[in-house]
Structures are given as structure tokens and as C-alpha cells.
């Protein structure tokens, strides 16, 4: 299933270096990847392994030091503001920390209205816009009427992340990068967020790049898994292949970390 669709995002030798001299950090080190349309890809690695940096390069938010990224088989061109805007119609993201992902000076309305505008709906009548926003909110079980005139920081972390999903619902991009969308959320809300994310992906058929440090979660959601260590992809393949038959010691360690957590949990409840 993994290689059945068309290529939608791929890269060769993609590298990111921050700073220079003594402050030089090699955050992403010559990674190759090929993501196909409709696929769910997990990128798994410890914190600091370069997942977010790679995601930002894929999104075109930071420059690529070396290597090439291909979008739909062609070299990606985001050299001008207009081309970037066009690119961002196709690729969107949900960030790790919802508390820093919103402009705290703007009301929630503004966030959703921006999405309608980016989809070319800026000229729609007001009622239609409200209808779209209401629909998007109810998709993630939020009440639009209660959110208007509220500021993002008046919501809980889980609600904010759900609003992010509502945003994606309005934008309907071809590719969504979800960068540890549940790691900053309280445990109770995590499953809900994940459910909405999967529901949205099933409805739209978009390519989902799911970034996580939890290999168990990656096994649960994805078709293809890329294991990242110190900025490099050390292992990749179908989820079953990588997780049931890991070849790399790093992968085995990531896997062995998962049950450990449950063991500890079991001990404490007995």
C-alpha cells in the first residue's frame, strides 16, 4: 500500500545546519525520503533528533542548507511570496505547542477567517463564512457561537489543538504535517485529538506526516515509519516491518521504552 500512490513529497540529501563555527549544529543530516499521496507517515525520534527542523523545511518555513525537496515529483519552487502562498495551499501544519501557536492579540475568529481567505473565500457573504466556521468548529466538537469574541488563551490546551484541526478542516490541504500534536496536551484530551485527526484524514484523504517520539503511537496510526536519530533516518519501511522486525539498535531501544512505561504504571496501581 505504501508505494501505490503518486509521489507527493520527496527529498534527497536534505540537510540543515544552524549557526557556524563553535555554534554549528547539524540538525538534519542528508536525509532521503519519499512520501506518497494519501499515505500516513510517522517520523519517530527522541527529542532533539531534528524532527521539527525537518518539518519546518518541508513546510518551507526555514531554508534548506543542502539537498533538494520535490513536491509532486517536481523540484519545489518557493522563491517568491506568491509561490510560497500557493505552496501553503497544499501543505499545512499543526504545531506541538498550542500555547505559542496563536497570536494572543487576535481573537479566534481571525484565525478561522484567515483560512477561508487563503482558500479564496474572502469575498463570500458573512453568513456563508459563519456557516463554514460553525461547520469547522462542530467537526471538532467546539461551539462556534461560544468561541467568537474569545481569545485563544481563554481556551484549554486541548481546545486550542482542536481549533487547529478545525483550521485544517477549512483549509483542506493535500499534505498535513502534525508535529507532536498531542505531546503538550493533558492525557485525557490526547485520544480525542488523535481521533479528530484521523477522522479528518479519512474524510479528506490527505497525506499525513505524523511526527512523534512515541513509537507505539506511530505503529497505531501510520502506514510508513521513518526512524530519526541525530538528524539521520536510520531505518524506514512499513510500520509492521520496522516495528515488528527492527534492525537498528536505536529502533529496538525506542520500542523497548514503550512497554517499560506500562510496566511501571502496572506496578504502581497494584
Amino acid at each position: 500500500m505504501a508505494s501505490s500512490g503518486n509521489l507527493c513529497l520527496s527529498g534527497t540529501g536534505v540537510t540543515k545546519v544552524f549557526g557556524f563555527g563553535r555554534h554549528r549544529t547539524l540538525a538534519v543530516d542528508h536525509v532521503d525520503f519519499a512520501f506518497h499521496e494519501g499515505e500516513i507517515i510517522s517520523i519517530v525520534g527522541e527529542s532533539g533528533s531534528g524532527k521539527t527542523t525537518l518539518a519546518k523545511m518541508l513546510l518551507g518555513l526555514i531554508s534548506v542548507t543542502e539537498g533538494e525537496i520535490y513536491f509532486q515529483g517536481k523540484k519545489r519552487d518557493i522563491s517568491s511570496g506568491r509561490k510560497k502562498k500557493e505552496y501553503w495551499r497544499n501543505i499545512q501544519a499543526i504545531f506541538q505547542d498550542p500555547f505559542s501557536a496563536y497570536n494572543t492579540f487576535h481573537k479566534i475568529d481571525a484565525v478561522l477567517l484567515d483560512c477561508i481567505k487563503l482558500r479564496g473565500g474572502g469575498g463570500l457573504p458573512k453568513e456563508e463564512k459563519v456557516r463554514l466556521m460553525t461547520e469547522a468548529c462542530s467537526f471538532v466538537n467546539l461551539k462556534y457561537a461560544e468561541l467568537t469574541n474569545k481569545y485563544p488563551f481563554e481556551l484549554s490546551g486541548g481546545q486550542m489543538q482542536r481549533l487547529m484541526i478545525a483550521r485544517i478542516f477549512l483549509l483542506k490541504p493535500k499534505i498535513l504535517i502534525a508535529d507532536e500534536p498531542t505531546s503538550m496536551i493533558d492525557a485525557c484530551s490526547r485520544a480525542t485529538i488523535l481521533d479528530y485527526l484521523m477522522k479528518l484524514r479519512d474524510e479528506t484523504g490527505m497525506t499525513l506526516i505524523f511526527i512523534t517520539h512515541d513509537i507505539g503511537l506511530a505503529y497505531y496510526v501510520s502506514d510508513t515509519v521513518y526512524i530519526m536519530e541525530h538528524g539521520r533516518f536510520v531505518e524506514s519501511g512499513s510500520a509492521d516491518e520496522v516495528i515488528l522486525h527492527p534492525k537498528q539498535p536505536y529502533t529496538r531501544r525506542l520500542i523497548s521504552d514503550v512497554p517499560k512505561i506500562y510496566e511501571e504504571w502496572d506496578l504502581s496501581t497494584v
Partner: protein
């Protein structure tokens, strides 16, 4: 936003600072409406008249109504006014040196002391070992006590312009009084006059206004330059950042004040107006604002809300105005307030060195300090020529720093008490 403003005005420190500043501003604007003499008009013939109420002697004598008041202590006051305790001790010293036995002299018995003085003092006699200045001093004392115990009034006479003959017009008795309200010319000089005989109060109010203007212009320029450069360096980064940081570092290693002195000097006295000086100050003091803004923008531009804004297709200007500026606005406001107060101080520093605005047009707080120093007001003990200026400078900068601390407490929750 409204919430923040509300908090700002609930901060005690900010309120106190704001009130002081507003009071100064109100005085600066209202005072000229009441006292209409130009601030640099010379009214006094002579230097450093002490603070007080000045009554025209001529108008007092010619007051329409003369009142008679029999005050029991009038004579004692009159004597005390012209014969101080110091004078009495000096008189005793002279008399003893002359040969009058010390035990016969009682300096508290005015009548006896004056009689002994009258009998023995000779203005032309310079006692051995006495300095010339001391000799002159005794001559002055002698003149001032002349007719001190007289109960006769003073005769007012007019001279006939043709014959030169004097005709008696009236007699001013010791018990004659004039009501101040009847006197045509009374001038209150709250802070006296300066070395040129100009009213210090009027000058001070005008100077405070000009200095505030200089601070405001300098602050606006410095904050604008610092903000724009800081934003560019921080947001665009790369080569732009390198160039801006190079210039900023240059300005940092050259002490700003030295630069200020050099520029002011090269502009030349004739072309240095108050606004010119303000512009020069502004152009030399943006460095710290630029640095601070840059580092704040640096961390802001990597925040996810900026990334989200980009992903939403917002153009660069909108990202800067909507996603970056609001987050540094509080800091910029605080920097602006500090720039105003340091601009006022910089002008004062320059003017004290004689490199301030040209002196013929408007007074500034720094120029007033400069004049007071050149004419040695501090050595002569003419405190009214410089103390009020110092206090005004201190008050204005203090109020601004207070406002700044208040704002800091509102914007920086870690400092809240």
C-alpha cells in the same frame, strides 16, 4: 489591550510618575498664559537678585492712602533689620581694639552700644593690623546704622528744574504704612534673577518645556531608528543583520557622549538650535533600543504563531505589524520613555560643556546650568540660579523612570509584587 491599559493605570509607581510629569506639563503650558514676559527678557540691573517680593519704593511712597499703624515691635524690628548680631559683635571688636574696656560694652543694649560707637568711631582711622576689607566693612556698618535711633521722619523733597531749589513735599514717618494692594508695581520673583538679571522662574518654566521637547524629539528619533534597525536585523537576519550589527557595534564602542560632543562641536554654535540638538541626540542614542529589539524579534520570529501566520499566507508587513510589533510594543514604549529622560540629561550635559543649543533664543535646563556655572552661582551661594534647575531635571527624569518601573511591573509578571 484595554485590560493592559487598565493595569497600567492601577500601578502605583506609574501613576505617581505620570502625575508628576502631567503636573510639569500643565505648568509648562499654563504659566506662559499668566506671566507674559518673554523668558529671556532682562529685568534686573545687576546679578543674582535673591528670591522674594519686589515692591517699588517710589510707588510705595506715592501710594494713594497712607495708613498709620502703631506697632509696639516696629522699632526693634527696624534695628534688627539693619544691625545684625554679627554687626554688634564686630562693633564690640572695634571698640575693644580702640581701647574701650571690654566689660563696659553690652552688645544687647542697643542704645548704649550705639552711643559708645557714636562717641568713639572714626571712619578715617584704620586700626593697626586691620585689613583693608575689614576697614571697609566697618565703614559700611557705620553708614547703615546712621540715624537708626532717630524718631524723625524722612523728608520727601522735589527739585525745581529751573532754580534747583528743593521743596518739601511730604514726610514719611516711622509709623506710616502702605497697603501692598495700593502699590502700582509689585513683582514676585519666586526664584530671584540670574546672572543677567532675568527672572529665573519664567526662564525655568520655558526651559522645562524646551527640554521636554528636546527629550521627546530625541526619544522619537532614537526609538524609531532603533525599532526599524532592530526589526530589520532581527527579522531579516543574514547579511542585513551583519551590516546592522556592525554599525551598532561601532556606535557601542565609541562612547555616545563623545560622539555627541564631536558632532555638536562640528555643527557650530550658529546652527545649533534646540531641535538640531535634539536630532543629534536622537541619532546617537538608538543603539540600545536596536540591540534589544533585535534580540526580542530574533526569538519571536521562530515562534509558532509567526509560522502559523506565514502558513496562513500573510505578507511580510502584516506579519511584522500584527505578529511581531504587538509583542514588543510594551518594551518599545518603555525604551521610549527612557530615551526621553536620557535625551533631557544629554542636552543638559552638552549645554554644561557649552555645546548646547545657541543661547539667544530659548533657555533649556542645560543652558541654565551652564550660565549658573559660568557666573559661579555655586561658589557665590546663589542657590536659586541652579538648585531649581537641578531639581527640575531630577524630577522629570525621576517621574519617567518611575513610569518605566511601573510599566515594567505590569508587562513583566515576574516583577509584580
Amino acid at each position: 489591550m484595554k485590560h493592559t491599559l487598565n493595569q497600567v493605570f492601577h500601578s502605583g509607581k506609574f501613576l505617581v510618575g505620570f502625575t508628576i510629569l502631567m503636573t510639569v506639563l500643565v505648568i509648562v503650558f499654563v504659566y506662559p498664559l499668566i506671566v507674559r514676559t518673554p523668558p529671556l527678557q532682562i529685568i534686573g540691573q545687576g546679578t543674582f537678585f535673591p528670591p522674594g517680593i519686589y515692591v517699588s519704593t517710589y510707588d510705595a511712597i506715592n501710594a494713594p492712602t497712607v495708613y498709620t499703624l502703631n506697632l509696639p515691635d516696629a522699632e526693634a524690628r527696624r534695628i534688627a533689620n539693619r544691625l545684625t548680631q554679627e554687626d554688634r559683635i564686630a562693633m564690640k571688636e572695634w571698640l575693644v581694639a580702640f581701647g574701650v574696656p571690654e566689660e563696659e560694652i553690652d552688645i544687647d543694649d542697643t542704645a548704649q552700644l550705639l552711643a559708645q560707637w557714636e562717641a568713639n568711631y572714626d571712619p578715617n582711622l584704620r586700626l593697626p593690623g586691620m585689613t583693608f576689607a575689614r576697614h571697609r566693612y566697618f565703614q559700611r556698618v557705620n553708614a547703615s546704622i546712621d540715624g537708626l535711633l532717630s524718631t524723625e521722619g524722612a523728608i520727601i523733597a522735589a527739585r525745581n528744574p529751573e532754580t534747583g531749589e528743593l521743596t518739601e513735599k511730604s514726610i514719611v514717618k516711622q509709623t506710616d504704612f502702605a497697603n501692598v494692594n495700593d502699590i502700582a508695581n509689585v513683582r514676585i520673583l519666586t526664584l530671584g534673577t540670574d546672572n543677567f538679571g532675568r527672572d529665573v522662574t519664567t526662564q525655568l518654566v520655558a526651559a522645562a518645556g524646551v527640554s521636554l521637547l528636546i527629550g521627546l524629539v530625541a526619544g522619537l528619533i532614537a526609538t524609531t531608528i532603533g525599532l526599524v534597525l532592530g526589526l530589520m536585523a532581527g527579522y531579516i537576519g543574514g547579511v542585513v543583520d551583519d551590516v546592522i550589527m556592525f554599525v551598532t557595534n561601532l556606535f557601542t564602542v565609541i562612547p555616545t557622549f563623545v560622539l555627541l560632543i564631536l558632532i555638536s562641536f562640528s555643527i557650530g554654535q550658529d546652527r545649533r538650535g534646540a531641535v538640531t540638538i535634539a536630532i543629534v541626540i536622537g541619532f546617537t542614542s538608538w543603539v540600545w533600543t536596536a540591540r534589544a529589539v533585535r534580540s526580542q524579534v530574533f526569538s519571536l520570529r521562530n515562534r509558532d504563531h509567526v509560522n502559523l501566520s506565514k502558513l496562513s499566507g500573510h505578507p511580510l508587513p502584516r506579519i511584522i505589524f500584527a505578529d511581531i510589533l504587538p509583542y514588543i510594543a510594551s518594551y518599545v514604549v518603555m525604551a521610549f520613555i527612557l530615551q526621553i529622560s536620557s535625551g533631557i540629561l544629554a542636552e543638559a550635559g552638552l549645554s554644561i560643556l557649552g555645546l548646547g543649543p545657541r543661547t539667544t533664543e530659548t533657555p533649556t535646563l542645560g543652558l541654565m546650568m551652564n550660565w549658573a556655572m559660568i557666573y559661579q552661582a555655586h561658589i557665590l551661594g546663589k542657590w536659586w540660579a541652579y538648585m531649581p534647575v537641578l531639581l527640575t531635571i531630577a524630577l522629570i527624569t525621576f517621574s519617567m523612570n518611575l513610569m518605566n518601573t511601573g510599566l515594567d511591573q505590569v508587562f513583566n509578571p515576574a516583577l509584580r509584587d
